[in-house]
Amino acid sequence: MDLAEREAEAVTKLHDVAATITPSPEDIRQRAQGGQEQRRSNRIVLATTVCILTVVALAIAWALNGDPQMTVVAPRLDPAAGPRPVPTTTNPLPLTGSALLVELLASLEPQITSDPVAVVPADLPADWEFETVSGYDAYSIDLNFWNPTDPAEETLEIPTVYVCIAPASESGVMHERCAPHDGEIAKRLEFDDPRVDAALIGTPDELAPWADIRFTTDLSEVNW
C-alpha cells in the first residue's frame, strides 16, 4: 500500500465518521440560545454577589466608624487616691481578624451600651504592675501582674478580681486567684458570650460608678 492509497483510505473513513457528528444549523442556534441564557444567569449571579459584598462592606465600614466599643483602658491607679472610675489614658485593643468580626457583630446589637473600661485592682502592691492585654479574640482578656523590680517574685497573691462583662443587665462575675509564673502572673479570662464587647476589671468599689453591675461569686449564676 502506498501513501496515496493510505490517504484515500483515511479520508474515506474520515467522511464516515464526520457524517455522524456534523452539526446542523439548529444545533448551532440552540447552543447560541443556551449561551445567552447562561450569560444572563451569570449576570444575575454577578449582580447578586455585588449587592451582598456591598452590604457587607457597608456594615464593616459602619462598624469601624461607629462607637469604639472595643476600646479598653487600663489606668495605673494610685492606691492612696482610692477608686478612680474615669480613665485618663486609653489603650485600644489591637483588632485581630476574629475581634474585628466580633466587633462587627457587637455593633449590630443595639442594646450593648456599656463603657468598656478596665480598672486595676486597688489592693495591688505599689511595686507591682498590672495591665490588661487584649486576648486572642474578643472573648478573652489577659490580666498580667508582675513585679518589675524583682522578676523572681513568686509569692504575690492577687486579691479578688472581678471581671464584669457588658452590658450591665447581662453582667457576670468571674472570681480568680492568679498563680505566680516566672515573676509574671498572667491569667486569661475567657468569655463565651458573643455579646461581650468589653470587660470591666476591678473590685466592687472600683466598679461602683457603673451602678447597674451586679456582683456574684457564684459562677453558676453567671449568664454567659
Binding site: 501513501l3 490517504e7 483510505e9 479520508v11 474520515l14 464526520a18 452539526p23 444549523p25 448551532i28
Partner: protein, 160 residues
C-alpha cells in the same frame, strides 16, 4: 468545490460543517473534541455573522479558525507525556479505526506542515485556498505538501 456567495447562516452551516467536521476529526482524532471545535467555530460565526457574511469566503474564515484551534490544541495535548498512555487507549478505541495512524502521522509533522496537509486531505482545499486560509505563500504550501509526502512515508513505513 464550487463556491458561491453565502448570505444565509443556515445555508452557510449546511455547506461548511461537513468539511469543518472532517478537518476537526483529522486534527483531534477525537469525535467529542471535534464536535466542540466545529460548534465553537460556527458559534463564533453565528455571533459575528454580520461581519463574517460580508467576507468573500466565509467558509475559509471558519476553516482557519478551526484548523488553528484544532491542530494547536491537539499539539498542546501531546505535550503532556504522562497522558500518552491514555491518549493511546483513546486512539485504540477511535471510530477512525486503523486509519487513525495516518492522521497521527500528519499531526506529528511540524505545525505549519500538519495544517497544510490536514486542509489538503481532510478539508479538500486546493493549494491557493490553503494559502488563503493559513495566510501563507502558495509556493510554501506546495513545498510543505511535497516535503510532507516523504515524511509521512517514513513515519508510516511505506514504500516510495
Amino acid at each position: 468545490m464550487v463556491h458561491r456567495p453565502t448570505v444565509c447562516f443556515d445555508e452557510f452551516v449546511r455547506e461548511v460543517s461537513p468539511l469543518l467536521t472532517r478537518v476537526a476529526v483529522a486534527s483531534t482524532r477525537d469525535t467529542s473534541a471535534a464536535q466542540d471545535l466545529v460548534q465553537d467555530a460556527l458559534l463564533e460565526a453565528f455571533r459575528r455573522w454580520d461581519e463574517i457574511s460580508a467576507l468573500d469566503r466565509p467558509d475559509l474564515w471558519a476553516r482557519r479558525v478551526l484548523v488553528n484551534r484544532g491542530i494547536d490544541g491537539a499539539r498542546r495535548k501531546q505535550r503532556f507525556a504522562a497522558l500518552l498512555p491514555v491518549l493511546r487507549r483513546r486512539a485504540e478505541a477511535s471510530p477512525l479505526g486503523d486509519t487513525i495512524s495516518y492522521w497521527e502521522a500528519v499531526a506529528a509533522l511540524e505545525p505549519a506542515r500538519a495544517k497544510v496537509v490536514t486542509l489538503r486531505s481532510a478539508g479538500e482545499l486546493t493549494a491557493p485556498e490553503i494559502s488563503h486560509v493559513l495566510d501563507m505563500p502558495e509556493s510554501t504550501v506546495r513545498w510543505h505538501l511535497r516535503e510532507a509526502r516523504g515524511e509521512l512515508r517514513a513515519r508510516l513505513e511505506l514504500d516510495a
